[in-house]
Symmetry: C2
Subunit: 312 residues, 2 copies
Amino acid sequence: MENIIIIGSGPAAHTAAIYSGRAKLTPLIYEGLLAGGVAAGGQLTITTEVENYPGFPEGIQGPELMDKMRAQSIKCGARIKTITVNKVDLSKRPFIVSAEEERVEAKALIIATGATAKRLYITGEDRLWQKGMSACAVCDGALPLYRNKILIVVGGGDTAAEEASFLTKYASKVIVIHRRNTLRASKVMQDRLFQNKKIEIIWDSVVTEALGDNLLDGVKIKNIKTNQESRIEAGGLFYAIGHIPNTAFLEGQIELDETGYIKTKPGTTKTNIPGVFAAGDVQDKIYRQAITAAGTGCMAALEAEKFLSERH
Amino acid sequence: MENIIIIGSGPAAHTAAIYSGRAKLTPLIYEGLLAGGVAAGGQLTITTEVENYPGFPEGIQGPELMDKMRAQSIKCGARIKTITVNKVDLSKRPFIVSAEEERVEAKALIIATGATAKRLYITGEDRLWQKGMSACAVCDGALPLYRNKILIVVGGGDTAAEEASFLTKYASKVIVIHRRNTLRASKVMQDRLFQNKKIEIIWDSVVTEALGDNLLDGVKIKNIKTNQESRIEAGGLFYAIGHIPNTAFLEGQIELDETGYIKTKPGTTKTNIPGVFAAGDVQDKIYRQAITAAGTGCMAALEAEKFLSERH
């Protein structure tokens, strides 16, 4: 029987492990094997330079930061299994966590499985990902790579509108490409977009190819009404087409919101099930940063520690 | 006129600066000059080894971590003034921030002035602070220094009870010293305390002196009913007598709770005044960790950026 099982491998999971490890709860982490389509370490493993994680004034590579956090978890007493949890039973206590062939009991559970940014996987994307292509304007927009370039944002919702506005701080021009002829973004966000002279919108179109050898230097687009294809010069391509929270394995076990994110009591990491806590992007569709995820990982560990000492 | 003024100097303030700096808002930080009784950098400047800030598996000295965050803020475009804000006017827009002789206008404000742990300043405390003396069991309890020692907790409230229970994970024995003959802690917490065989309570007593040359090795205590003095051997002395949020300069300007902490909308850093955000310990009396403070600093910057782009 485990005290705490942590499911996940990003900043939230490892911060929860550091805190619960130091509290002598010997947490067990299931970091997963390509769970959610990304390597153990989470979304930071598919970024390059991280400039905004506090404590690293010279910046740090995303994978290196996650290596450090993982090493710190182990040093604090966490044990890590590189297999993917495919099922949990939260209907009785102890909770049961199933990963491949194993079934393990746990008194408390911290879910930090993250969310995966949607991507289009167009031609050239494998070659140019993070070399002019990104799924997070707030994370990557300020990198020198994108300064004074034409930047393309794909999407039509609030996030796309926000990220387009945000990128005008750095770009010579921002082009929003949307496959419909109206935006799903709120009225307020649309107004901001239309009023911004640095932003152009191309309607009824999709990006079909990322161009460039070592760095993105343009895209191919296609008008889906006329089927006309064209090329646009660009120094950056940002996907803003949403995220998928990694909660499929929780099917029917815990309260999710209408988009699949775990619901937590605001200002805490408490879910609707006492003893089950959620941290990081799996419960956050607003901030989605490494440092905010780490903060909630800490909260989850402190709350789980308190839960265990009161109940057990 | 400033876009964003950040008041504070700890992890919350610098994370807010890193994010708002990268968003090209050129934030101005008032880090204060011994504001709240601690050096710029906040409470981490009076700790030594920090083992639980994610990203540093070998640990990092508190002051060094804060030097790094400060350097990162500057690198991201923040300007820093080492004077203390003594007054703000939030009743009109732009807000007015007064520090010594200056009065500066700002469109948005992030308050991250922290909270200061109460200390007793007994004889020997100057010499032995962080050498066996601490005001944070969660932060410091796991350090090798405190393993298998007799540890003393001073206080009688919920925090004291929680910290005493927490410290039994590491200590050979925990002695709670309280100046009354009943605890203020909740019934549940008291029961946990009384049932724990590793915990002893000494009533009606105060600690009068910290003993030891380079490391604490005991304390002098006095029974305040009998005036009898005695010595106790101990390897650690933890104050759990509360914190004072650094909000005196806000007098009447913003909504505070009954203990002086800034009220925020749970799950956000929004205060009752649109455009004024609060991050870190000044609005958190539960988690109080460097990493949670940094997380809320990031949230405040993202919320301030959104506020500014919608309003201005």
